[in-house]
Symmetry: C3
């Protein structure tokens, strides 16, 4: 439970807000590279952390993230012509390059050099892991790009997309590091209508070898023990479920400052999934969704699946808006809810979105009742809120400078219940933080 | 005319407002029984008096009216699975019964009995007259259900529906007890375009025996004498129109605290109509519309008519939203307005809605000019505003305790103009308040 | 650049605001005559300067501009029956004539003469130049109608329409007197995709004799010298572009208080175009668009063109809303933007609307950077803001009384660069203000 004031601190990210300023100390994904594919192609309006910006790729392939409005008379540069290394405003022809520098000001006398003195807001932009990242903080504090393994592996090893979500970024992220909710939100059953649900009898197991056991353990233990360990880039959040032996089935997520998280399901060798939760305005967000396999290229079948609603990815339209969304109640099927799943909603991503959007545009955390399974969420909140307050007091977030500490993995393993989370991490990843360093990049 | 302050007092009904608190001392229809027809069926979101609630029917057929949000992390219980005597949240499996009691909390240690201490907002609910009623006031003040005759007669004798309206409940109710407006809003003519309207020549009379005279009297007297008499449950509001003799044609409505009204048209033996105006948020409301005949079952033809826009009922879609509504200007037909009716809008219900919505979301009563025909409205306002103020001063509304006083009827009669309204009531109903007691229920 | 406070002064026009009060000292077009074509036809809701009004044409063809709400109980008079010289409210039959006088009050006792004492807000209305004009200011200050030449010529010589726009009226008007923007917003090219734009090579010239040169001069000089001269009704705003000789190509617009402007393109004998920018609410406006030829009737072909998106007129639907508008991004064609025009949007009117709407509902003038080509805009702002402040200090706007000073023309000419704007005006129009007096009306 938070006070109303703390809930605002946690969820507001416009410029000048404590959390907004914290996020601005990190690189922020602002769109996919594929959204501005070719040089001199159409620019794209983006709203990030409450700021109305314009993204474009210039004649040389460079990406610009600039103010959306011309400084002359406020015309929208989205209408602009992307040409010859800049966006030209179609009102009076002022032109700006990717750095925000005015390179032509036809309405002014050339000998005044007025254009040289004119510069608009522009954020440093980089392409990294299939996404365009912007740095929206103070120039003197610009960090290196975070070494997300996704971006370190060859392009063939990853798949990157995004999805629109109708709620504040924080509650969506909280869902992603909450390894307990899988028991109810995502499982699949097969029973008759009217029949009482019996997990032993009705649970549908995936066909994969061994996964059956895992699914049963998830279904039968709604109260995983939660352990959290901090590291330089964020938090390891592990949830251990009981098995038929003295082993625990650990599912371990990663939270990486300020808004990345990795899902806990991967067994060694399996593809890893992650999400980055980027506020648009405070009541909605873009969630960048990605998969990568450190060991091998993704197959055509995997890519096809991810592009069509498989794994953590939703079915989306050409604007990256999920087909099953708030406006159509996620196409909830009440009959399916009595026979096939707790929710009656198709798709893991859509199930998450329904729950998270359903909390309201910004969930009222003054009314909540957290318990032991919410420990990861409590620790996440404490970390980002403390960091936001520290920044107000002049202390920059250490994680922003720790770009190498981002090269971590999340995943699952089965091991003896006597082990601490750090011991489990070392057993699973060879490192208490799950750090794999730049190994993958060496391929 | 009201002050702006009084207009707010009259029209605002969220929790904590004086009128909202007054209404909360009475049973409130919150949906139709048919909206949650079967045990364990889909729950339904409802917004009543500004509160977001969830209605569901459990495995045993009991109705629950509970908070719409799970107290754990704020997930929307509308997504929930209605099963085995409760709604289970699909985020982490917390389950609640119709009383708001948490009956399962899978994320908590069973031996802590945390679930036993967890209870969410839940309002006592009853099914009565085809509607689900909730009591949203203080527990110690809970009254008995009001003895509306509609609910006392056998189900075969009644028809119950509801309709959405795009304005504050008060102005809709004011229209319903305003027996003067029939002269302009509802009459039917048959004249050529361009011809001046001549009521004697152009009025279309219903075919029924005697009704022709009644309609002519309504058409020819736009200034009925209004008389109002208070009784234990509310007000009798009579409007008497001149006839060709010394008789007056009385049409007598009932207002029953805090938001019910009965239409004035029924002659002895005829079916009676009523409406209950329930605020959703302050700028719209659900109007429960019903018909009952104390003496006989309604016929198949009558039911078919009521379900398809006959009498006081609109044509509605599957969500109880009128087909002719604010978004399509009630399909006003300007040609029909020159030939067939003052309004050019089809349907008595739709005519009322057009006028009432047209006043704006909340009519500005600081600008109005009331006259003698508005006496019923003035008395209604005084009664509910005085009662709301009394409640703020600690005086509970007597009508809430007077459930038997609700067994009244409205209706019409023709009698000598020298009689007082009470005398007319006694002549018509055998009682000055129109009280019929539980006679009907004895059938 | 303006302060935020001055930007509000400039752009807000509700009753009681300084600019709103200034505009109310002038006649205001509130709809087209063709919108209420026949006596006793459907009334029309209009929102002008933030006021909700009703326009109707009575049985005698007179136009009424009255309050939209009945003073009795606030019913919307738009629902009313337009009959026998007045609008009759369909709630209780009160009736009002075009002067706002209540002419029937059926709910009141006839001998009280209550109706005679009841009068609602009604503004004097006139039909003038195909538009219905209202005067919304204090009665004692009512001026004569402005002698716009459009209204003085025979009906056969003019074409009048209107269009909806999704932005504040001021930024739309500023676009209209900004003769510099033509160079980028409106020119047509023909080049291959990927090819660098070369005006000499790619400019598409209109076929008309001589116009080719004009277009080239516009294309090649984005920095016209701007000269402004005040006159009794407003401002002459001239923009002179260099030619291949010592001559300047002058394009001279007119701004007429408080919200009219004429386009600068007409050569002697050519049809003149004008626009009047009327606030609906502060974030949108109706723009009355018109063409007139002082010397001859407009041809069938011209009328057809204007009605279908030619010249300054957009393609509109039956509600006068442009087909290419904000909701569909003006159907911008990014390929056309690389080959045919800077904007890739079809239609001069639509190009203007895209730029003006794109500035936002009300452009933030605290962020702008005006330069020499914006002189006309600066002088326009100063004139209307000074006038608004003067009126607050008790000084009425002189232009309101100067109705004969409105009989001016705008237009273009080519003449020696040594001449002052006044000399150019005298050469082109025979008068430094462009005044043609009532010459045209004499035809």
């Amino acid at each position: 439970m938070l006070t109303a004031e703390d809930n605002r601190l946690l969820t507001q990210s416009d410029a000048g807000t404590p959390m907004g300023e914290l996020i601005r100390r990190f690189w922020v994904p602002v769109l996919l590279s594929e959204e501005i594919p070719e040089p001199d192609g159409p620019p794209k309006k983006i709203t990030v952390l409450g700021e109305e910006l314009l993204a474009f790729r210039d004649s040389k392939g460079r990406v610009g993230i600039i103010d959306q409005y011309c400084p002359h008379r406020g015309a929208n540069l989205w209408l602009g012509r992307n040409e010859e290394c800049g966006i030209r405003c179609v009102y009076h022809g002022w032109k700006f390059d990717v750095t925000g520098q005015c390179t032509d000001m036809p309405t002014s006398y050339p000998d005044l050099n007025a254009k040289d003195k004119m510069r608009i807001k522009a954020y440093p932009a980089r392409e990294w892991g299939g996404m365009v990242w912007a740095y929206m903080g103070p120039a003197e504090a610009i960090p290196e790009l975070p070494h997300l393994e996704l971006a370190l592996v060859p392009e063939s090893h990853r798949f990157v997309s995004k999805k629109w979500q109708d709620c504040n970024w924080v509650q969506a992220l909280e869902g992603s590091i909450d390894t307990a909710h899988f028991t109810y939100t995502h499982l699949v059953f097969d029973k008759a209508e009217g029949e009482d649900l019996d997990v032993d009898k009705h649970l549908v197991m995936p066909i994969q070898r061994m996964t059956g056991n895992l699914t049963r353990w998830i279904a039968k233990d709604p109260r995983p023990v939660i352990r959290v360990e901090p590291h330089a880039a964020g938090l390891v959040v592990g949830g251990g479920r009981v098995t038929e032996t003295d082993d625990l089935y650990w599912r371990i997520a990663q939270f990486l400052m300020p808004f990345h998280s990795y899902t806990p399901s991967a067994l060694p060798g399996q593809t890893i999934f992650g999400q980055t939760f980027v506020p648009s305005i405070d009541t909605n967000c873009w969630i960048y969704c990605y998969a990568w396999n450190p060991d091998r290229p993704l197959t055509v079948e995997e890519r096809h699946s991810y592009a069509n609603g498989g794994a953590i990815f939703p079915e989306i339209d050409e604007s990256y808006v999920p087909l099953r969304n708030k406006t159509n109640n996620y196409m909830i099927d009440r009959r399916a809810q009595r026979t096939s799943s707790y929710m009656g909603i198709k798709g893991l991503s859509e199930q998450d979105a329904a729950v998270q959007d359903g909390q309201g545009p910004i969930v009222d955390r003054t009314r909540e009742h957290l318990g032991p399974t919410d420990l990861g969420i409590m620790r996440f909140r404490k970390l980002v809120m403390d960091s936001a307050r520290d920044l107000q007091a002049g202390i920059a977030p250490p994680a922003a400078a720790a770009h190498e500490a981002y090269a971590v993995r999340s995943g699952a393993c089965i091991t003896h219940s006597s082990k601490s989370l750090s011991e489990v991490m070392i057993e699973r990843f060879g490192d208490a933080s799950g750090l794999v360093g730049t190994k993958a990049a060496a391929e």
